[in-house]
Each structure stands twice: as structure tokens, then as C-alpha cells.
């Protein structure tokens, strides 16, 4: 570890030399005021919230709130596109209104300013494009998915949904850390509200609380980080922060490799911000809330817990990357945590049976890739993976959601099979295939390129070879568990059983059945197939499932449209890799113009290897720093750049990760498709005993929840009981003692108050006598 750190310091030093020598700040471009209409981006989701709210007040039973949400979010997407198109390469700041401003002295750092302003650079645009775009599509999907609780629940859903997009907008577009924090808490709140959407279900409520509490732990880190940023740099506005002399001074120190001269306070900032990022993005110590968050409705899982909110941690690190390079600990920790999370979540995902859970663990795993990418200094790779992951993971979740919706909540891959052959499920199955290919890293898919970039960069960066290997193994596991789902659920013999929500839908389904019958009479063939599938199923499965009673309803137009669009987008997302190729594709150019811009010294290595054509481009990447900078970079690269088994990782990784992907898919094909005749069992079940107890451990999530129970919940429980006893005995005892003393004294004195007049008189007379004795005898 010590050696790796040493190497990292040199890496950072070399990299920063490139940036610092030319005097170009890491923050991209110069700052100019942006167009005021950019404020529409947060305003439109707010309008959606208000419409859904009024729809709830007036008890609207139609799909109005859904279509209003789709319209508002769609408009926000259009505005985002317009904002991005006019942006050019620079940074724009749009001042909304003065929000928080107070000062307690005339000096530097004695005025606290947090305005409601937007900070727009290409990183902001990149995030906002997929946030608003996916939100629009998923809202459309949800209009159908949530249709069974039309009424106030429907309004509540879309109000929270739009509020989420509003919060995410605040988070991503904020021009200061306080507004970012507001958005950060806002998305946490919406996540809580939407996970607990089915609030009558205890498990959903528990999951919502778990997510909220886990996020609080991370948010504490973020809050402290923001505070420390103000204390140290005297501002929390990005423009001032990135331009501050102090930060430039530190970056110069980093550039010279004198990391130890940076004050500890400044080095602590990224560590604290990192804790916040780990909480929100479900990284290793704090990941356990995300799989449980699947209790929420599937569109929520797709949007919040796969595509957008959980990437907020990646965004935070990318946005404050200049601060992150100040610490010699932060980025290595990020990289290791990311890699270990990726591996751990993938192993758990392999052993789960609930397809939505598998996708949840896969999300945790892919987020681990993104963090590893950030940690090995490829912000481009991380952002690219965020971008592609947003599309294909949303696709995968929405496919799972379609299955869940149609199969009355059935998500167990042992009870579903061959959906591709069921009429009406073709689009879902094909979209699922596209998503799976992406996630598995099948060659020439978007997921292949983005994952590849991170793995290659891990091998290139010295000291991180181990992370590269972990990520490569994880890629194989990912391919396996992804296609395990596909081969089990979507191909093979046709079989399906209703899930546990069937009873909740009884009325609707009885009605449905009648409807079907009527359709039979009228149309015959389409539904005839359906019936055929049922009888086939009844013959094939020989279980207690009564085929005639359960009719899965195939997804309607909204779900199919959204899945089609997303599947196509997932495929096309690969294309952005080839746009503006020398800069690592379109995403690379987006990152290049932003605060996350970071020139890895090994970029030159790649350039040198890839050919002369790239050299010019990388001259551009280094902002034409001239011979000195380039020479510096090459020197470092030549001295320290890692290799993959002695080969240049950038060249061979395409083939290696392609082969690894094929191996994973092949394993899944052999174990879960070949020769499988029932839904419940496959060849893998015969091989599992060979692994001993390991599959059971993995299926039980490596007992991490139990470990947390043991480490946190049980000690707390014991401590609370001990404190309860102390409270009862000591605190209550003390209070009661003060109540008891006068009572005891009173019970002694009380008998003197006999109520008999003569006794009082006698008392007085006696008192008088005593006084007289004292006066006449004693005092004399």
C-alpha cells in the first residue's frame, strides 16, 4: 500500500504538472453569464409537482398527473438540450436570486454567500441530459405501470417523481455546495418517499427507513466536507472555489509532488466528501440500503436507484475533482472501495433469485466500477460508464418491471421461463436482451466500451493492477449473472406463475379474464395463442399452478414504447464513443471542458501507442502545454505506466474484456439454457454442491446485513436497554427521591394536624408556656 501511495503521488504530480505548468486551472474555460431561461430546467419539474399536488387535492382519478409530469419533464429535457447546444466549451453561471448571504466581518472568508444559481458546464449538461431524458421516458412508463392505483396514490407518485427531478436538478446544476446539499437531501427525501410508496407493506417502510438512515451517515460526511470547505477556502461557490488562490497554490504543490506540504485540513475535505458519495452511491460500507430499496415501484428503482440518484456520488467527485487530488488518501480509497464493492455485489448478484434484486446488486457493482474509474484518475471513463449505465440499467429495470407488472409481482427466476414465446412479451424480451448485452460488456455495445475504458485505465495506472484484475474478474461475473437472468426468464420452456400480488388484483383479474373471453370470441387468434401457452404450461410444469386462473397481462403501448426507445438508445449510446474519438468520444469531450477535466499522464502513453494521429489530439487535450509538459508526461508514463501481462492495456483490453464477457455469457448459456426443461431447475443446481457452502453464503448476501446487525443494531439494542435501566433507576430515582422526601416528612408531621380545635388551642397554649419558660427562666 505504501508503495502504491508513493506511486500515486508521482502520478498525480506528473498529471498536475501538465495542468499547472501552463497556468491553466483545472476548471475548464472561462466563466460567463448564462441565459436566464436555463432556470426553466428546475422550474418545469416544480410545475409538475404543483400539478400533481392539485390533482391530488381535487381527487383526480385520470392519468392527468402522469401526462402532466411527462410534459413538464419532456419540456425540461428540451430546455436542457437547448442549454447544451448554446454552451460551447466554457462555463456559464446563471444567477437566479440571492438566497443565503450573511457576513460577520469585513475580512476574507467572513461573508457566507449561497445564491440560488446554476453552474453550467459540459459535465452539468451531460448529467442533466440523461436525468431529464430518462425521467421523461420513465414517467411515461410509470403512467401505465402505476395505473392500478389511479387516484391519490397516483398523484402522490408523480408529485414525488417530479420533486425528485427538481432535487436532482438542484444537485447537478447548483453553483454552490449548499444548493448541492439541498438537492442531495431532496433526492434522499424523494427516494425515501418513493421506496416507502407502498406504505402499508412493512418491508417497504423498513426499506425506506434503512435507505434514509444509511444516507444520513453519508450525508454527515458531506455536510462536514462542505463546512470544512468554507472554513478552509472561505467560499462554497464553485466559481470562487476553483479560482481561489489557495486552491491554485495547492494544485501547484501537487504538481511539484510536494503533497505533504498541503495542510491536513485541506486534505480532509475530499475524505469527508467521499463519505457522502459512498452513502449516496451505495459503496462498500454503506451499500446495503440499495438492494432493499427495490421495495419501491419499479420505475422508481429504474430512475432513482439505478440511473440517476445513485450516480450523484460520482457527480460529486467529478465536480470537485480539483479538491480530490489534494489528498493522497482520497482517490486510492475511492478506487479500492469501488473495486471491492464491484466484486462483492457481483458475487451476491450471482446467487440471488429475485431478478430485481439481481439488477440492484448489479447497480451497486456498476457503481463500484464508476468509483474505481474515478479513483484511477479516469473521470472520462467514470462519466462514460455513468452515461451508458443510465440507459441500459434503466432498460433492464423497466423490463423487470414489465415482468413484475404483468405477472402480478412475480420476480423469482425459478418460476418464470420462456417469456419470449409468450405473445405480447417480444418487445420486453428483446429490450432485456439489449440491456443484458450492454451490462455483460458484449463487444461493440456501449457498456463494453465504457467498462473497458475503466479496466484499461486501471491496468495503466501504476499500483492499481490489482484493481484492474478485480474489475476484469467482476466483468466476467457480471456477464454470467446478467445472462443467467436472461436465459432463465426470457428463453427456454414457457412457464409462469402468478406472484403474491395476485390476490390483491383478484377483482381486476377476474374482470380481466372475462374481458379475455370476450376478446376470444371476437378476435380469436391473438388470445388463442395466449390460451395455448397456458395449456402448454399446465402440461409442462406439473405443479399446483392452475393455468386457467392466471392471465398475465402483456405490457401496453406506454411500456412498449419506452422500452423500445431505451433499447435503441442503449445501442446508440455506443456510438458516442466514436464521436470526437481522439478525446475518448463525446463523453470525453464533455468531461474535458468541465471541472472534472483531468489529464492522466498515461494518456500520452496511449497516444504514443495508438499512433501519431492521436498525438496531435492529445496535444489538444493537454491544452497545448508545449514541449515541457509533454516531455514531463512522457517521462512519467514511460517510467511508471502499468501493463497488462506485459502488453499495452489500451490496445489489448478490447479483446481481453470481450473474451471475458463471452466466457461469462457462455457459462450462463451452458448452465442455464442448455438442456433446461423446467423453470425451477437448471444444470447449475447440480454443480452448486461442488462449491460447498459458498453459494448459500452468497445467497445470504455474505451475511453483511447480519454483520451490521451484530455490529450496530445489537450493541445499540443492548446499550439502549442498559441506558434504559440507568434512566429508570438513576435519573427517575433521583427525581422521585425529591418527590418522596417531602411526602415522608409530611407523613411524620401530618398527625399534628388533627383537625380537633382543642388540640390546636392546647398547642398554642403549650407554645406560649414554652416561650414563657424560655423568656423567664432560660434567658434570665
Amino acid at each position: 500500500m505504501a508503495i502504491e501511495l508513493q506511486q500515486l503521488v508521482q502520478v498525480v504530480a506528473g498529471a498536475m504538472a501538465l495542468g499547472a505548468d501552463a497556468g491553466a486551472p483545472i476548471a475548464g474555460g472561462h466563466v460567463s453569464p448564462g441565459p436566464a431561461w436555463a432556470m426553466l430546467i428546475p422550474a418545469l419539474p416544480l410545475l409538475g409537482v404543483l400539478i400533481a399536488m392539485f390533482a391530488a387535492i381535487f381527487r383526480v382519478k385520470s392519468k392527468l398527473p402522469a401526462y402532466a409530469a411527462v410534459a413538464c419533464l419532456g419540456a425540461a429535457f428540451v430546455v436542457t438540450v437547448a442549454l447544451w447546444r448554446q454552451l460551447g466549451g466554457g462555463t456559464q453561471v446563471i444567477h437566479g436570486w440571492d438566497w443565503i448571504r450573511f457576513s460577520w466581518g469585513p475580512g476574507e472568508g467572513q461573508t457566507f454567500i449561497a445564491n440560488f444559481g446554476l453552474y453550467v458546464d459540459s459535465l452539468t449538461c451531460l448529467w442533466m441530459l440523461f436525468v431529464t431524458g430518462l425521467a421523461t421516458l420513465i414517467a411515461l412508463y410509470a403512467s401505465e405501470y402505476m395505473s392500478h392505483d389511479q387516484g391519490t396514490g397516483y398523484c402522490r407518485f408523480f408529485a414525488a417523481f417530479c420533486l425528485f427531478v427538481l432535487s436532482m436538478t438542484c444537485l447537478v446544476m447548483a453553483d454552490n455546495m449548499i444548493l448541492l446539499y439541498l438537492g442531495w437531501e431532496g433526492v434522499g427525501l424523494c427516494s425515501y418517499l418513493l421506496i416507502g410508496y407502498f406504505y402499508k407493506k412493512p418491508s417497504a417502510v423498513a426499506a425506506a427507513k434503512k435507505a434514509f438512515i444509511m444516507n444520513r451517515i453519508g450525508d454527515l460526511g458531506l455536510a462536514l466536507g462542505v463546512m470544512l470547505t468554507f472554513v478552509h477556502f472561505g467560499t462554497i461557490e464553485y466559481v470562487q472555489l476553483f479560482a481561489s488562490e489557495r486552491l491554485q497554490e495547492y494544485l501547484a504543490l501537487v504538481g511539484e509532488g510536494r503533497l505533504s506540504e498541503i495542510p491536513l485540513q485541506a486534505q480532509l475535505i475530499p475524505v469527508l466528501l467521499m463519505i457522502g458519495a459512498f452513502g449516496k452511491s451505495a459503496q462498500l460500507p454503506l451499500y446495503v440500503w440499495l438492494p432493499d430499496a427495490m421495495e419501491g415501484p419499479t420505475p422508481v428503482s429504474a430512475l432513482i436507484h439505478a440511473a440517476t440518484m445513485v450516480t450523484a456520488g460520482v457527480f460529486l467527485i467529478a465536480r470537485t475533482f480539483p479538491v480530490f487530488v489534494l489528498s493522497e488518501w482520497a482517490l486510492p480509497v475511492v478506487a479500492w472501495v469501488g473495486a471491492l464493492t464491484a466484486l462483492l455485489a457481483a458475487t451476491i448478484g450471482m446467487a440471488q433469485f429475485d431478478i430485481k434484486r439481481i439488477m440492484a446488486y448489479s447497480t451497486v457493482s456498476q457503481l463500484g466500477y464508476m468509483f474505481a474509474g474515478l479513483g484511477v484518475l479516469t473521470t472520462t471513463g467514470a462519466a462514460f460508464h455513468v452515461f451508458t449505465h443510465a440507459f441500459f440499467k434503466a432498460t433492464l429495470f423497466l423490463c423487470c418491471g414489465a415482468v413484475m407488472h404483468g405477472m402480478a409481482g412475480q420476480l423469482d427466476l425459478r418460476k418464470l421461463s420462456g417469456l419470449m414465446k409468450v405473445p405480447g412479451w417480444r418487445i420486453v424480451s428483446l429490450a432485456m436482451l439489449v440491456g443484458c448485452l450492454n451490462l455483460a460488456g458484449f463487444p461493440f455495445t456501449a457498456g463494453f466500451f465504457s467498462k473497458d475504458m475503466i479496466i484499461a485505465e486501471s491496468f495503466v495506472t501504476p499500483g492499481y493492477g490489482a484493481i484492474g484484475w478485480i474489475l476484469l474478474i467482476t466483468a466476467g461475473l457480471t456477464a454470467y449473472y446478467t445472462f443467467r437472468v436472461f436465459f432463465r426468464v426470457f428463453v427456454g420452456p414457457v412457464h409462469y406463475e402468478a406472484g403474491d400480488e395476485a390476490h390483491g388484483h383478484d377483482d381486476a383479474h377476474a374482470h380481466d379474464a372475462h374481458g379475455h373471453d370476450a376478446h376470444h370470441a371476437a378476435h380469436g387468434d391473438a388470445h388463442g395463442h395466449d390460451h395455448g401457452a397456458h395449456s402448454h404450461d399446465a402440461h409442462g410444469a406439473h405443479d399446483d399452478h392452475h393455468a386457467g386462473e392466471f392471465h398475465p397481462h402483456a405490457p401496453g403501448w406506454a411500456i412498449n414504447t419506452v422500452l423500445t426507445v431505451l433499447a435503441v438508445a442503449s445501442i446508440l449510446a455506443a456510438g458516442v464513443y466514436f464521436v470526437n474519438k481522439p478525446d475518448h468520444g463525446w463523453v470525453g469531450s464533455m468531461v474535458h471542458d468541465s471541472t472534472a477535466h483531468y489529464v492522466s499522464p498515461f494518456a500520452h502513453h496511449e497516444a504514443a501507442a495508438d499512433g501519431a494521429g492521436h498525438d496531435a489530439a492529445h496535444g489538444h487535450a493537454a491544452d497545448g502545454h508545449g514541449e515541457h509538459a509533454t516531455g514531463h508526461g512522457d517521462e512519467h508514463a514511460a517510467a511508471h505506466a502499468g501493463t497488462f501481462l506485459g502488453m499495452n492495456p489500451h490496445e489489448v483490453m478490447y479483446y481481453v474484456s470481450g473474451v471475458v464477457g463471452f466466457l461469462g455469457i457462455g457459462a450462463a448459456f451452458g448452465l442455464h439454457y442448455l438442456g433446461r426443461t423446467t423453470a425451477a431447475r437448471s444444470k447449475a443446481d447440480d454443480l452448486l454442491p461442488l462449491l460447498g457452502p459458498i453459494p448459500r453464503w452468497a445467497q445470504n448476501k455474505w451475511y453483511v446485513d447480519e454483520l451490521y446487525d451484530f455490529l450496530v443494531r445489537i450493541p445499540l439494542w443492548v446499550a439502549s436497554h442498559i441506558l434504559h435501566v440507568i434512566d429508570k433507576l438513576l435519573v427517575d430515582g433521583l427525581v422521585n427521591l425529591f418527590g418522596w422526601l417531602p411526602r415522608a416528612f409530611g407523613s411524620i408531621v401530618r398527625p399534628s394536624q388533627s383537625g380537633v380545635l382543642h388540640q390546636y388551642a392546647l398547642g398554642m397554649a403549650g407554645g406560649l408556656a414554652v416561650l414563657m419558660v424560655i423568656v423567664l427562666v432560660v434567658l434570665r
Binding site: G746, G755, V756, H758, A765
Partner: protein, 119 residues
């Protein structure tokens, strides 16, 4: 007639000429009255008697005040007694009314009927 007898007796030296009463005599009377009142208050159960006993004690104090006033050639003592008598008159009216009310409640004048303030 009576005058003649009296003057005759007086000339014969009977009764003997009494010495002028001193402060001690008045105080003796006062203490005696107070003691009678106190003992009466403590021993009797009849509310009216008890009330009269308090009056007795009041007036005992009054005598002592007047005696001291005279002894010191000061009118404050007498002034004070006039106030006491005035207040005592008002208080007597109140007290008797109370006694009547108490009697109506229990159809008895015994002070033992009333012991509700027992702690």
C-alpha cells in the same frame, strides 16, 4: 341614711383606707381573666362558651393595655383598647353568625363535631 352610716363608719376607721391600686393589681386581674378564659377555652366544648372565653381573653389583654397606658401616663394604651373593642364587636357579630351556621349544619354546638381539617 346610707350616707350617715357610711360617714360614721369612715370616721371610726372602717373600713381601713385602702392603698391606691398599683399596676400589679391591674395586671393580676388581667392575668386572672386571661387564665380563666384560656382554661375555659381549653376545657369546654360548647362553641358559644368557647367564643365567650376568647372574648374574656381579649378583654384581659385590654385591661393590661389600659393599665400599662396609665402607668406610663400615655394614651396609646387606651386608644389601642378602643380599637380592640371596636374590632371585637364586629368580630363578635361574625363569630356568632358562624356559630349559628355551624349549628344549623350539625344540630349541635359541640366543637368536636368539626374535625374535617385532619391531615
Amino acid at each position: 341614711m346610707m350616707d350617715v352610716i357610711a360617714s360614721t363608719l369612715a370616721q371610726s376607721g372602717w373600713p381601713e383606707a385602702m392603698p391606691a391600686p398599683t399596676l400589679a393589681h391591674y395586671l393580676f386581674v388581667s392575668v386572672a381573666m386571661f387564665a380563666i378564659g384560656l382554661v375555659g377555652f381549653l376545657t369546654r366544648r360548647n362553641l358559644i362558651i368557647m367564643f365567650l372565653c376568647t372574648e374574656l381573653m381579649f378583654q384581659a389583654a385590654g385591661i393590661a393595655l389600659v393599665a400599662f397606658g396609665r402607668y406610663h401616663l400615655d394614651y396609646n394604651g387606651q386608644t389601642f383598647v378602643i380599637f380592640v373593642v371596636t374590632v371585637a364587636a364586629a368580630e363578635a357579630a361574625l363569630a356568632l353568625a358562624l356559630v349559628v351556621l355551624l349549628f344549623r349544619k350539625r344540630e349541635s354546638l359541640s366543637a368536636d363535631e368539626w374535625a374535617e381539617m385532619r391531615g
